[in-house]
């Protein structure tokens, strides 16, 4: 395993911890989007381009979008 793979694995571990330990959902969404990109990079470096393609589209766009729309609705209900 070369240096890039080791680095990406450690970054994934740190990123997952950061996503869990952020308590406010509004801040957590940005962390989740970045974590999705790190995962996509990890899939690419470990020779899995198919999975990286779907992870980029889902983890950086679709999932944070839906969470943010849910948060906007919740905040609108509270007003």
């Amino acid at each position: 395993m070369d240096a890039l793979q080791i680095l990406v694995l450690i970054l994934a571990g740190i990123g997952g911890t950061a996503v869990v330990l952020t308590r406010r959902p509004v801040d957590q969404v940005i962390g989740l989007s970045f974590y999705g990109l790190i995962l996509a990079l990890m899939f690419f470096v470990f020779q899995a381009p198919d999975v990286a393609l779907s992870q980029i589209a889902i983890g950086a766009v679709a999932l944070p979008l839906m969470v943010m729309l849910a948060l906007a609705k919740v905040r609108r209900d509270e007003e």
Partner: protein, 257 residues
């Protein structure tokens, strides 16, 4: 169960699980020494047997096609569940028509965002169709291309045009796409049953040896069906979430404003 009790119970149980997990990974070969026979067998025979150069897509839609049918039905059912949960009941609609003009401050969309989104929308459609149809040759397939295609209505919405979004994505189109997707997959399976003897057998002629777009038998057909299903599902989810957040009815004639 109160929070304290839950957190206190978590620590010993998590420790026990960690011990079990780590003792199980001792038996797995070291990272980088993949030993198992199935992957090597598939890599050796898939190109010759199915005339498709992307072994992952061939595994997804042909060798393990039945599992992919199960996953697609999970997608179908979850989309139905989400749209049913977010439906607007008739008594809710009357309240919302009243509280619509509550003076929500909507920031003006900047010109750079508008230009970028409108310029990217058409190439994204082309790219999505390319990824879906070339699934058996290069990295791609129904799932990836479907998600790329599903971001196009989002780009149209982000360009600031709610009217264009309402006109280009009526709710009936993604519903039809999703039904064609899942139904088409099952019909291809039944065709395999009728002409080949087992469900999802590859009965369409396989095409040329050096792989072209139409080689692979049923693989490109299933890939297109899956792309339609995934696109329809995600666009339906987008419409349901946007409707709920903006408190509008995006359905068509009985439009809110």
């Amino acid at each position: 169960m109160s929070r304290r009790l839950r957190s206190l119970l978590f620590v010993p149980l998590a420790a026990a699980f960690l011990v079990l997990f780590l003792s199980a990974t001792v038996g797995i070969p070291a990272v980088g020494n993949y030993r198992g026979p199935y992957g090597d067998v598939l890599n050796a025979v898939a190109v010759k047997e199915r005339h498709s150069t992307d072994v992952v897509t061939a595994v997804n839609f042909d060798y393990r096609g039945f599992d992919t049918l199960g996953e697609e039905s999970i997608l179908f059912i979850s989309v139905i569940g989400a749209t049913v949960l977010l439906r607007q009941r008739p008594d809710e609609i009357k309240e919302k028509d009243k509280e619509e003009d509550d003076g929500r401050h909507v920031p003006k969309i900047s010109d750079a965002v508008r230009l970028l989104c409108l310029a990217l929308a058409a190439p994204a459609v082309l790219f999505g169709i390319y990824v879906v149809t070339h699934g058996q040759l290069t990295p791609g397939g129904g799932f990836q291309g479907g998600v790329i295609l599903a971001t196009v209505p989002l780009l149209v919405y982000l360009a600031g045009d709610l009217r264009t979004f309402q006109k280009t994505t009526p709710r009936i189109l993604p519903e039809i796409a999703e039904c064609i997707g899942v139904g088409g997959y099952i019909l291809i399976g039944v065709a395999g049953l009728i002409w080949g003897g087992s469900f999802l057998q590859n009965v369409v002629p396989l095409g040329p040896e050096d792989a072209k777009v139409y080689s692979g038998g049923t693989i490109p057909l299933i890939s297109v069906a899956t792309g339609l299903a995934v696109t329809g599902g995600f666009v339906l989810l987008l419409i349901a979430f946007l409707e709920e957040t903006l408190q509008l009815r995006l359905k068509g004639k009985r439009g809110s404003k």
